[in-house]
Symmetry: C2
Subunit: 222 residues, 2 copies
């Protein structure tokens, strides 16, 4: 984590205590955005929750948009790292996609930074916005690549790769809108459920029998 | 349409010219929200686009939240009407669900009012918010009912009805975030593509062969 944040620090200028503080603020802010809704949360709310004055919060983050940027950046880096790792695994495309979906849902619901993935980027400065959009696009390409691979290997039925990718990402991104920690299912269970359903819709009838349950492969935890 | 708006008019107090004007404003506002993003659009932008002064816009809608409420209310009424009609059709649950998904996507992308379905309701007054949430829930129940019916009739595989409903609604609601009218696929095509994929993932292997394409039933256009 600290490494991820450090990557934004020009020439590693921030001392490690400041890094930790920024992370702590991000965690608290994400929690408040989730509880109260992004639009209704003010920087004052975030400062209050952390026992900081608005002035000291400003020292770490200039505004809500800056918090959003760091949250998205952190979540997307994690997703991209997981996505690339899964993409390289010596697995069937159906299993790769299963792992990718399950991991993305888990990351979005368990890891607080993921909870803001659905927030519109309209308020961000152009340069930051482009950076987030570019990373989102990179992630989308990983999903598309796995689906295309599955079609080539005749594991998945032929069809529009982009549409299917967008359907999957929509279902997954939307979880941050309805999930509550006190609901009947936890992040891992929701992830497995979504992965099984969304992969199943892609599979050729003849192949489907080979993957009755899509168990999460041990590789993910190893 | 006019009837839908009239339903909000206490005792039919508004003359029909005002109804038409409110509708016209809704259409223009939806278009601007879609082009510019909801957060960045001001009531002044909406007034400008319509050649109105902010004062005359205020006569019809007091603020952006009031516009959001009417947009959502109108879109949800349309979806509920279509949903109930499809629910009553003498069709297989797989065909019903196919029609429902295709129709919802089309409504969200073609019909401008649907474009705001993903907007957070945090800013709405409590009473209005509850009303929208209740209607969304009613719609969710229609989807769940069809899925449950499919499971009972052993057309769909057994599984968590709520999770699958949420996956479907997420994929569909998210379309409003990425769709652009100048993209490669139109609303009807996206609707059919999503419907085929999302229904396919529910179907039992043995049944799947019976529905190779899920053509849009003639009933929808009749």
């Amino acid at each position: 984590m600290v490494q991820i944040i450090k990557a934004h620090s020009p020439n590693g200028r921030w001392p490690s205590r400041q890094d930790r503080k920024r992370l702590e603020i991000l965690e608290a802010a994400s929690q408040i955005f989730r509880d109260r809704g992004f639009e209704r949360t003010t920087t004052r709310d975030i400062a209050n929750a952390l026992g900081l004055t608005p002035g000291s919060l400003y020292y770490y983050f200039k505004d809500k948009q800056e918090i959003i940027f760091f949250c998205q950046e952190t979540a997307l880096r994690r997703l991209l790292t997981a996505g690339r790792r899964i993409g390289r695994m010596p697995l069937d495309p159906a299993q790769k996609l299963y792992l990718l979906i399950a991991e993305q849902v888990r990351c979005m619901l368990e890891d607080l930074f993921g909870s803001l993935a659905h927030v519109e980027l309209d308020g961000l400065a152009k340069r930051r916005r482009s950076r987030i959009v570019a990373r989102r696009h990179q992630y989308e390409l990983i999903v598309r690549q796995i689906i295309r691979q599955g079609m080539r290997r005749r594991v998945f039925t032929a069809g529009d790769v982009r549409m299917r990718t967008l359907a999957i990402l929509g279902a997954v991104n939307w979880t941050a809108r309805w999930y509550t920690p006190d609901g009947p299912a936890g992040p891992a269970e929701i992830g497995r459920c979504f992965a099984a359903y969304l992969v199943s819709g892609l599979m050729r009838r003849s192949v489907r029998a080979r993957f009755p349950r899509f168990p999460i492969a041990r590789e993910m935890n190893g």
